[in-house]
Assembly symmetry: D2
């Protein structure tokens, strides 16, 4: 069962709510003797941390992570790694008025429908606050696959895309959007300021890229690398679509156009293109892995909306409080983390089933 | 671990290759005392069966399913249900020439890279032949959730979409494309004939709709209904993108537009729109569930393509044999089946964790 | 995968080491709207708490549990329940001298052999300290199955058994051994004092009984109730044997003697005996469930023992520090907890697969 | 979930009933490029095959296994291995009279209580017929761990034990009991003949030994090697107790006696004894692994027994048909198979989490 656990051999279990005292996670199955420190994890948490620009929620959470188990003298021991973050800036009183009201687009109604009870304080368990633990676990996952580099970027903000000709990795960390196109980032600033001032919100598309993944990771048929990525990304708050390589656009292509031809390379085939996004048959090809996911606009908006309450009465709801005008922005480090977790798990499972040293060409083939 | 198993409490394990003697699956966890017969399963297999029009592969497989366990006197017993289908029209000799060659877009290279060995006969385990077992298991899954109706349709073939104003459920079964728009179906016929004659192929988008799902199914955070659907659909051969509700287009929307407002309904809120596709916070809302997935163009095309072989030599590959010019078409019943399996599993898990009878409004709330 | 997670639909994940700052667990899948408070959990922790008599370790741990998630206003919400206990009386300096030495009977050597690293402080992850979290999780599990009563008792201490004719449930809590036979308890006091003063240790047998389990729980074939109990008990530190009903003694019986005949009862068959321990075919019979497990003598003894160190040198080891002369005593509440967890999980899975209301006689039978 | 699946990275799913047309299993996660043939599997099935002496059931089942997937040209491909055995000698009419009657000691009542329906034909799913698939899967598992030798033996038949001084491995295959003590085997023959002629039955104790397991397999805390063995053995029909090393007798020992001291050995510590049965802290020590399980007497006996039927009426039941007077005998190859499956799974998981090459002494230690 997988309610609050993700992964198999490298597996992450999270707990905690937006306005509880502490959120945490358990990273189980991490290989031993891997150096890992709190500052290394903090680095990634700081990328996701709110309140760093006017485009994210003003809730002030230092997100200071503590490693409480599984690490001794700075290296992992093979025991489960317990990670805890105390919540410090929850303001539950902000939420009193939506205690009984269902905010459109939120999980308020569905949690009540499922459980007959709902932690209304800041969204409770359904809050994106939980994603802090994903980022922390993702930092550990990266250490498990040291040859792999994972980077996320925002490639669309509301209706505004980027010009891929302008792509600059360096630019990603130089604007408040994780935008790789510096020109687009300027335009987005104007756009999102306008949206924010209107009390509205917008969606976004996040792209996550992994370089350095060797051929062979991912286990068909129901542990396919792309299926696990799809599950991982779709489990992030507000995500409504996931794409690998060409994604939905693959539908419009013909066989010749979509084909990734090969020529000989250095120890592995040199693919002449990457429409597949680095995954064929659920197994990595050795190319760059390219995935995207769409984040819907933040459901908390100032506009008065029609709704009902838990007593069955019709009410109008306006969501105040502190919110991100575009939750897609802070989803970038979360997407990176989920990619790292999926890949670390795929690596360990591959090593388990197949062992080290299989590759192309295949001296061990029969 | 989930290599060849899908689901948790209702779980399906498949085995078998394209050119082996038999393919099969085990449906475990199915509730007892559910009537199920071979003809009921056959009905769905016949929808997926190849060779029914010139637009699908000419391989002749009757796909006659046998129930070998778990059913007594026409009803399930609670024991695992074994389903077997014998392969009858495999022609392995067709594949001799691609024995050592990697067909671009196929999983040939990646299976070799992972396992150091590859069943080249008709794609072996990576063949879409396996999806017959998904359809069979899906037929059982439908019986577990009798109040739910699941229908799939092709909403885009290559670059050609449908006009939703023309949508007719009845039309879906009246053309070789599972196309709900009779006019589009005509145009598609011309288009695909042309593609087919060129020896090329095209992609497609499948939409799967579930009606009758009550509010409350799906278990956050990593067993979210949409995450499980994403994993299920992405595990289907050639799928590169998955969408729930607005899908990737949600990115371009603003909060007011994307919002699904509510008014009081009959025992459950009446949503005034369904941008969310029937899922909020990973839990069903009680609305129609709407999901889509994109299938890339069939990788087997007649055009000569550059590639390499398993010895590391550069070769040119042209894929002959019997193939679907658009694998997206036969993916429609497979998508329906995966939706059924996901929902049956979500239902059983929900009933396990929460029990029967929770709903809105909530008399059992504290 | 199940490294540090136990259970399926009701599942427990633990983390933390003997001498780390905090130990904790996540109880996932707990049904919603169940009242649970910290004092209720503390009650069971206090039974296991060390330092309550001269027969258990003198380490002073209040084992004060905090609920940090999953509970709101005193009832569960369906979200994962995070439970934390801070360690307060670890004295890691006691362990400096066994840092590189392998204590016979401990997991020192095997953790090093597996992981190439070992947390030597108080046994690290292999310490029975972790069982505190099992007890905490077990307290939650009990609330999931309110009709079920679970009691453990020590039925053998070293070579000394009890006289079952003297069995008194009340006596169990009136001596430092959880011994149901007051006379035996007196003799045990003398015996264990002598063992303790010699710096030695002894083994024990724990019996755990569950009353009120209805017929039908447990899922054959690999989720059999007895198989899950066996796994649960054997996962407790120092356990070397597990028995259901007659246990190992069943081997010596003949069919007529071992048989549990039936006559009609109140809504369920009245069994005339219970050699089976309440489980047939892996499914509960509706009778009392009876299980036992043997705990080996504490491996930490004052006698000088031959061993090796991690450098490969031969060394002699004497284990000082604070230890239980018989770890079997404090294993009683741990055994109860594992029984509760297994039953809660079996109940939820049964409800999921079969639904409420199945029983004997069977009005719903076909 | 684990209803009909055992194992994690090496995992076995079985299906089929005693009197259905076919029984089968899926072995998933088996590493690629392992040579395996039907005759190799058949070898082990023949050890378990009924009808080979007057001490086992006279049902004539050739148990001819077919590999239908996952193997190409005699080696595994990494795809799931489908194994099928057709039932040929089922005589369902023998069971008509127990259709509605609950045989004491059998799972008749509990299956009905759980599922509201029961396949009464030869015990249906609860029949030991399923263990044929365990033996087949175990044969594959052995190939995954080629350095490991697994042997089972019957060490007690009814009340009659063996004299361990007479132990002869060669003797095990030279009598109808898998008895390692030739003298005991003679006495058992007389004893069991007498039991059989009375229409009665007796229990037995099976010991399973694994040599060649390196130190380091097994993953604490809930994937402990001994916990997985306990679950594996207890899942076998009629098993009521499981022991590792000293087993239940460990309770009566004191610390000095139970201790396994160490001296330096060849690349690994040389243990001076093996009370632990080769497992410490849930991890293999590198010593011989020793486990035992008790099998209760066959519940099918000729003596008239008091019972009830599914209508709630009191009935008397005498079980005719073809039965083993001691099911413990044929449980020997089943026990070996479960040991092999547990070890193969532990090996793959260990390799996944830790990689190849960790051992004692530890050059890679920090």
């Amino acid at each position: 069962m997988s309610h609050n656990t993700f992964g198999h051999l490298f597996r992450v279990t999270t707990f905690g709510e937006s306005h509880g005292p502490t959120i945490g996670c358990v990273v189980d199955g991490c290989p031993p003797r891997i150096p890992i420190t709190e500052p290394e994890i903090q680095l990634y948490l700081d990328k996701r941390r709110p309140g760093q620009s006017r485009f994210t929620t003003q809730r002030r959470e230092p997100d200071a992570v503590r490693i409480v188990s599984g690490v001794m003298d700075g290296v992992t021991t093979g025991a489960p790694i317990g990670l805890l973050i105390d919540n410090v800036d929850q303001r539950s009183k902000d939420y009193g008025e939506i205690k009984d009201r269902y905010r459109p687009g939120h999980a308020d109604f569905t949690y009540d429908a499922k459980y007959g009870i709902r932690d209304y304080r800041g969204g409770g368990r359904s809050s994106a606050r939980e994603t802090a633990m994903r980022v922390a676990a993702g930092a550990v996952a990266r250490k498990v696959i040291p040859g792999v580099t994972i980077r996320g970027a925002l490639v669309q903000l509301g209706p505004n895309g980027i010009d891929r000709a302008n792509w600059s990795d360096a630019a990603i960390d130089e604007n408040p959007f994780f935008c790789p196109d510096p020109k687009a980032a300027e335009a987005w600033e104007t756009y999102l300021d306008e949206v924010r001032k209107r009390g509205s919100s917008c969606g976004a598309i996040v792209e996550v890229i992994a370089d350095g993944v060797p051929a062979g990771w991912g286990a068909p048929l129901y542990g396919k690398l792309d299926a696990e990525l799809a599950s991982a990304f779709m489990s992030i708050n507000a995500v409504k679509g996931v794409e690998i390589g060409e994604g939905m656009a693959a539908a419009a292509l013909e066989g010749e156009t979509n084909s990734d031809e090969m020529r000989t390379g250095q120890g592995t085939p040199a693919f002449l293109s990457n429409h597949a996004g680095g995954i064929l048959g659920g197994i990595s090809t050795g190319q760059r892995i390219v995935a995207r996911f769409a984040v819907k606009p933040t459901s908390s908006i100032l506009t008065l909306q029609r709704s009902v309450d838990r007593h069955g009465d019709e009410v109008d709801v306006r969501t105040k409080g502190r919110h991100d005008p575009c939750v897609g922005i802070r989803a970038v480090p979360v997407g990176e983390a989920m990619m790292a977790i999926v890949l670390a798990d795929a690596f360990l499972r591959h090593r388990g089933q197949v062992g080290d040293g299989v590759g192309w060409p295949f001296p061990r083939s029969p």
